[in-house]
């Protein structure tokens, strides 16, 4: 059991005292946790197949159709009625499906009406214009959005804190030149730059992450730089210098903890901004590769198919709930680190 200092206990209490943010945190964590196991919820590969007494786990292993007495060496399409009948043929074999029998790219070939088709018992939120199940796409889209946002936030925090620390600690010319550079860098219209890059190379998750990282790291530089500028003249920093402690060590041990408060306060909002950027790019069609489940793409489809409002609604509500939850969490984190907030006696 980790022992929290009195200060951190007070922060935790402040965080809990913001009821809205506290519940939002748990709801968001739950949603994210569930989405991490999306393969067990929405998948066109069944969880378990019993075929002629043998056990198969298609979620984990890809079996060729010949394993079930089929004709092809290719991956089994379990949704194929022919395959299903092969498996269940001897009366003993059976298939246990995930709750939703569609993966993010599974096309429902058995639609009652032309795609996009409205919500039904089979497709709870309907299908998109290519006949893919919207629930599955929202689930996977949410996961990739959050994962992308978290990764981008993490990397841009590391880069931003490092840059701000160096600027604030050394000050002088380094600071001056860096600041001017950041001002120029900030005024580069990155959306256009991205569009240009996207037309040359087809971005995937990591390429997109790197390109966005080029511009998102500046967000934290200001606050961290200010903390280091303030802190570098503290007497305990001077004392450490007098002791011959190296610069890197001083920055890590003495100054970074001070800057972490500002950084942590900023992070949920940074996460929000990252998710929004990805959604915007996907909406414009310059984001993740075509076909990957994404909330921005769902919104774009909703816009293109106004006769199918379930697309727009599903996309909008998912994004609105996700961003609102994160903003509430961010507010609670801000409260937690607010030194002016202390517990008042009831």
């Amino acid at each position: 059991m980790m022992q929290l200092s009195a200060l951190n206990q007070r922060r935790l209490q402040n965080f809990k005292n913001n009821r809205r943010g506290y519940y939002s945190f748990w709801i968001f964590s739950l949603l994210f946790f569930v989405s991490l196991f999306a393969e067990f919820i929405a998948n066109d590969n069944p969880l378990y197949v019993n075929y002629k007494g043998g056990s198969y786990f298609p979620v984990f292993v890809s079996y060729p159709e010949t394993a079930f007495g089929g004709d092809f060496e290719t991956r089994t399409d379990y949704r194929d009625p022919f395959v299903q009948s092969l498996i269940e043929e001897d009366g003993e074999g059976f298939i246990i499906w995930t709750p939703i029998q569609y993966g993010p790219s599974t096309i429902n070939l058995d639609l009652p009406s032309p795609a996009p088709s409205p919500p039904s018992a089979e497709n709870w939120l309907g299908t998109d214009d290519q006949g893919r199940d919207v629930v599955a796409r929202v689930l996977y889209g949410f996961r990739i959005s959050v994962l992308f946002g978290l990764t981008l936030t993490l990397f841009s925090s590391v880069v931003g804190v490092a840059a701000g620390a160096v600027q604030g600690y050394f000050g002088g010319w380094i600071d001056l030149i860096f600041q001017r550079f950041i001002e120029v860098w900030n005024s580069v219209p990155y959306l256009y730059l991205l569009i240009i890059i996207a037309s040359v190379i087809e971005p995937n998750f990591w390429i997109l992450l790197c390109i966005l990282l080029l511009f998102s790291w500046v967000a934290l530089v200001g606050v961290v730089r200010a903390e280091f500028l303030r802190g570098r003249n503290f007497e305990y920093v001077l004392a450490a210098r007098a002791m011959g402690v190296g610069n890197a060590s001083i920055m890590f041990r003495h100054l970074l903890p001070n800057a972490m408060v500002a950084t942590l306060t900023f992070m949920p909002f940074l996460l929000n901004a990252s998710i929004t950027t990805l959604t915007a790019l996907d909406f414009l069609g310059f984001g993740l590769p075509p076909g990957s489940p994404s909330l921005g793409e769902l919104l774009a489809q909703g816009k293109a198919n106004l006769q199918a409002p379930w697309l727009g609604f599903a996309g909008f509500i998912t994004i609105a709930v996700m961003l609102s939850l994160l903003i509430f969490v961010g507010e609670a984190v801000r409260d937690a680190f607010d030194p002016r907030k202390s517990i008042h006696a009831p």
Partner: protein, 536 residues
């Protein structure tokens, strides 16, 4: 009726509610101030003296502070139960207060005239011109030269002493009957301190006021007050005439307080010892830049051509008022500031060294800072703080036995328990924190220590202990000290050699004994007079 005291405080208690529970700051205190009398309350920090004074005008942070018991009688009303309107009339009208820190007590955005006239216009309904005339009269009264010219000044344009005079002028606007002075001179230099005290005494006489004077400084209380209350831990332990208290203190605490004035003689160094540190024509000039091109138009000469040497086991006392460049000199000697000139350490000119060579040398020269709160990182444990330098220099891995052992022995060296190394700075008192800072400095077994006002932020009795500790360490290890202080009494107890600085230049330099007994320069004489005259 005339026999009854002007202010009569009976059985006053003050408690604070806080997260950790109740704090009893003042416990059943009774005191009174007669007409035309000066009463002193003396005590160390945390004794409840300021809280008692603030509760007279109900200036505490109510409702988290409250009074479980007590009456405060002033001119027929009980101030603890008086109506808010009457209380406002009394505040600033009948009773005025001056505070310790004149910079933060004045509004930095208002001119001097506006600050003082505000009370006149609001309380007494003065017109503009009449108010101005009265402000000039008051500024003249508190001894500000050229009062007319000063009307449009802002607080930052005044010196500390002038600001305190403005504060006093503000307090006197409505000719109060009682003036409460809460450590009014603590933040000031000694010479200015003496002037302000003389001013207060004169004003009290001229305006027929009573004064309640709160201070930790026994010397001031002794010269100023007729009657003295001694407070500790929220209680008044002794009261009596100033003479009686100082000549025959009865309560053990009072005796302890009086005996803890810094005293004793510095240990005599070996006269044949070679100079360990030698400084030759050291200069620290900060460029003043103006204009768009930031051209250097001049320099602020913080340290301007200072030379001296310190032998092993010797203490050089560096004395001067604030702004004289003492601290700058100390930092420059350790190469924490860029300077010109030669600094010889054990024969090498370290001002010519590269950073990497300096770093290796840092184990041999250390510094102890004034503020024991700011100089320890609150996030590190005591052991980590002390061990930091060891990890750099002694090649003792953090967490190794040798590392821990040296930390423990350093803690024991400064009179602390080795078990304390796992605790954090906030759990310690000011004096203990300063001991930790000293432990951090000596753990590397340095030869030379810069002590930058190490006792100034501490209470008198703690001060004496730290001085004893420093003397003891010097004796044991033959340390050389550069002892920077504005407090001549402390310097007298420690220094063999003395160097008086003013405006970056050396005013006087020589053997401490000689400078103290027969100072040559006028400035030094003024400094000595201000410091020791208060002792009585």
């Amino acid at each position: 009726m005339n026999d009854s005291p002007l202010l009569d405080v009976k059985d006053l208690s003050v408690h604070f509610r806080s997260e950790e529970g109740e704090v009893e700051a003042v416990r059943n205190v009774s005191f009174h101030v007669g007409r035309g009398e000066t009463v002193g309350i003396v005590g160390e920090s945390g004794s409840g003296k300021s809280v008692s004074a603030l509760s007279i005008l109900r200036l505490l942070p109510y409702p988290s502070a409250y009074h479980p018991s007590g009456e405060i009688h002033f001119e027929g009303s009980d101030l603890l139960n008086v109506a808010p309107k009457r209380l406002r009339e009394i505040r600033g009208g009948r009773i005025s207060m001056i505070f310790q820190e004149p910079m933060s007590s004045l509004n930095p955005l208002h001119t001097i005239e506006r600050q003082i006239a505000e009370a006149l216009v609001l309380h007494a309904g003065y017109g503009r011109n009449r108010a101005r005339a009265r402000v000039i009269e008051l500024l003249d009264l508190v001894g500000i030269d050229n009062p007319v010219g000063r009307l449009k000044s802002y607080p930052h344009q005044l010196s500390g002493g002038q600001r305190q005079r403005v504060m006093i002028a503000m307090a006197l606007v409505n000719e109060p009957k009682l003036l409460i002075a809460d450590e009014p001179t603590t933040a000031l230099d000694v010479t200015v301190q003496a002037q302000i005290l003389r001013l207060l005494e004169r004003l009290k006489r001229e305006m027929d006021m009573s004064m309640l004077f709160i201070s930790h400084d026994l010397g001031i209380i002794r010269t100023l007050a007729q009657r003295v209350y001694v407070m500790t831990e929220g209680r008044i332990v002794e009261e009596g005439t100033s003479e009686r208290i100082f000549s025959e203190p009865k309560h053990p605490y009072t005796r302890h307080l009086i005996s803890s004035e810094p005293s004793g003689k510095p240990p005599t160094p070996d006269p044949g010892a070679k100079p360990l540190v030698e400084v030759n024509d050291l200069k620290v000039w900060f460029p003043v830049r103006r204009g768009v091109l930031r051209r250097t138009v001049g320099h602020i000469k913080a340290v301007d051509g200072v030379s001296f040497s310190i032998r092993r086991g010797e203490t050089l006392g560096l004395v001067g008022e604030s702004g004289s460049g003492k601290t700058t000199l100390g930092l420059a000697m350790l190469r924490l500031l860029t300077s010109e000139g030669r600094i010889y350490f054990d024969g090498d000119d370290i001002n010519a060294f590269r950073q990497s060579r300096i770093r290796a040398l840092r184990a041999r020269m250390q510094i102890v800072f004034q503020d024991p709160y700011g100089s320890l990182n609150p996030r590190l444990s005591v052991g980590e703080i002390i061990g930091e330098g060891l990890a750099v220099h002694a090649r003792a891995e953090r967490g190794s036995d040798a590392h821990t052992e040296r930390i423990c022995s350093a803690l024991e060296e400064v009179g602390l328990d080795a078990q304390m190394r796992t605790r954090y700075p906030h759990e310690f008192s000011g004096g203990q924190r300063q001991r930790i800072a000293i432990a951090r400095a000596i753990v590397l077994k340095p030869d030379f220590l810069v002590l930058d006002e190490p006792t100034s932020a501490l209470d008198m009795s703690v001060q004496a202990q730290i001085i004893d500790l420093l003397r003891d360490l010097q004796d044991r290890y033959g340390l050389a000290y550069l002892f920077i202080s504005h407090d001549l009494k402390v310097v007298r107890a420690l220094a063999n050699e003395l160097l008086v600085m003013r405006g970056g230049k050396v005013m006087e330099q020589g053997a401490a004994k000689q400078v103290f007994s027969s100072p040559e320069m006028d400035y030094t004489r003024a400094l000595m007079r201000a410091a020791f005259e208060l002792e009585g």
